[in-house]
Symmetry: C2
Subunit: 325 residues, 2 copies
DNA sequence: TTGTACGCGTTATCAT
DNA sequence: ATGATAACGCGTACAA
């Protein structure tokens, strides 16, 4: 049986109100030190734990945040990125909030699911992972009064969103490769059409000039290796390649190996990918490690600050460091 | 403002009790059809949503399950496996339960965190991901009265646990390789000492006889490739290798490539790994794909059945199919 | 067929 | 300094 404030009050011989005040160190808690000690010690002795549900009902605040993601069954890589989840969970917990997980079928449903959860009172706000948003979604989300933070490339200035600076990190990679002496830089991307990849591709197009033809879209390492092979065979081909996901990186390394070229000498490979997959790659490639843990931490912090009354921070964009594996 | 049963009652001109009964289709809901319709329509019109917190407080049941994991900062691969999380989330949601995520610092703390959460009433049970359990942990968990399901290799017969059949899948792999004509089968494992790997290594030791010396522990692909190189150079070396994680698989393929041998002709490689990482590997290797999604689904189902009063199912072990990549 | 009254455990207001 | 008392929204035993 759970110990309640009333039980403590009965044992000590005071009213339940006093118990509540003392246990929560409220201003009224300045009761007779003797009474105070009796309350505290019996509470500890009986193993009192405040009932979070009753608190939430009374305070009209659940202290729960929902993390909402869509799980596209057709995707080959699982969509629920755990790294950002961990960051969110840790940060929220530190501030006394709990984290709920919900899976929506489609992005369109996310707004509905969220407002449903808010309406039933089980959460005070939502962190939504959105890879493919739409104008309609932004509109729906703006109509929700509780705090919302998006994880993903949301362009709307009135919505808090955390993401990596896609154009920025491509520029950074290109600049880095330029400094290394490369002028012809190819790009390999997976066949997904989300904003992140569009922005990245756009940034690359704008900056590589005549190298624009060295562009490939591939899904598996073998396809990608075959797509890149002609680049490597061409004496006027690119001397550096940017790869945007694991399959692209592995495909590129395969192709480079098969061509007989040496990574880091004849050609440079720059991977732009989740930091957690760096152990999959061979040494010698450059790496813009997207830190999803940091994304999660930022998202949780933005959520907490909004819950505390701060204004909506709008889009926040993160930049990784370039490292050499 | 949230719409309550009382407000509906006022509008319709009945008592809140009737509203509650009608809205939940209870036995008492057999009110005058006319009243009934008025209640239902105004409820819909006003956008009534039951307050889950009040329900939970009244019913003494939160309909929330917590998923508890430790996040070992020293691990190179993130520990929060999203695939099982997704399975848990989907299944629980179908049954009207919500999923909470909690991160504990150490495995020892998991029992404390869980009982704390149960004491505050915010969850009805816990799904714990445990890679390195101890007798003490099992004891602590057994003292908790609410349903608990473990994800991981827990040997205790009185604790529900979901995991892959580690010895079984090693036997399966060895049998499969034997059928392919291999008699000398090596094993490469990562430097982790959890029950899963211990069981797997034990099963391998028991069955490969004289090949027992073809055993390597390595962390990165390069180390592993170097460890295996002598095996491949040895004319009496193993003709098949079982690799137990991504780094091992990548290290083995690297080594095989460098040795000039052809995968599937000169040597066979059998990967035992998370199904979701299959896209990382080269074609031609055999693959026991551990289906974490299925693990999550089983865990959630076990939890739900226990919540509904079924007896503790004890350990449940899953077996993957072998596929050829 | 419908309404009253109570309790779940807490916080907050207002007396004393 | 302390205690009644009233909500919060809902479910349910009991009365009408």
């Amino acid at each position: 049986m759970a110990v309640t404030q009333t039980e403590i009050a009965k044992v000590v011989g005071v009213s339940q109100t006093i118990v509540s005040d003392v246990l929560h160190g409220r201003a009224r808690g300045r009761v007779r030190p003797e009474t105070r000690q009796r309350i505290l010690s019996t509470a500890r002795q009986l193993g009192y734990r405040p009932n979070a549900l009753a608190q939430a009902l009374r305070m009209r605040q659940s202290r729960q945040i929902v993390y909402l993601a869509t799980l596209d069954e057709t995707m080959e890589f699982p969509a629920l990125r755990e790294s950002d989840l961990a960051g969110v969970a840790k940060t929220l917990r530190q501030q006394g909030y709990r984290l709920l997980i919900e899976i929506a079928k489609t992005t369109e449903q996310e707004a509905n699911v969220l407002s449903e959860m808010i309406a039933t009172g089980i959460c005070d706000g939502g962190i939504l992972r959105v890879y493919r948003g739409s104008e309609q979604l932004w509109k729906d989300l703006l109509e929700i009064s509780e705090p919302i933070v998006l994880i993903g490339q949301c362009p709307h200035p009135d919505l808090a969103s955390i993401a990596h600076d896609a154009p920025g990190l491509i520029s950074q990679a290109i600049k880095h490769l330029n400094d290394l002496g490369h002028t012809l830089i190819g790009l390999v991307v997976p066949p997904v059409h989300d904003v992140y990849h569009e922005l990245a591709i756009g940034a690359w197009r704008n900056q590589v000039g005549p190298a624009e033809k060295w562009f490939a879209v591939g899904e598996h390492r073998r396809d990608i290796a075959d797509l890149i092979a002609p680049w490597l065979a061409d004496p006027n081909g690119p001397t550096a390649i940017i790869a945007m996901n694991p399959a692209c990186v592995l495909g590129a390394t395969t192709s480079i190996r098969e061509s007989g070229k040496i990574l880091g000498r004849d050609i440079d490979l720059h991977a732009v990918d989740d930091l957690s997959s760096r152990w999959t790659y061979e040494p010698g490639i450059w790496f813009s490690g997207l830190d999803m843990d940091a994304v999660g931490i930022h998202a949780a912090k933005a959520m907490i600050s909004m819950l505390e009354g701060s204004p909506n921070p709008g889009p926040i964009r993160l930049m990784p460091e370039i490292i050499c594996l």
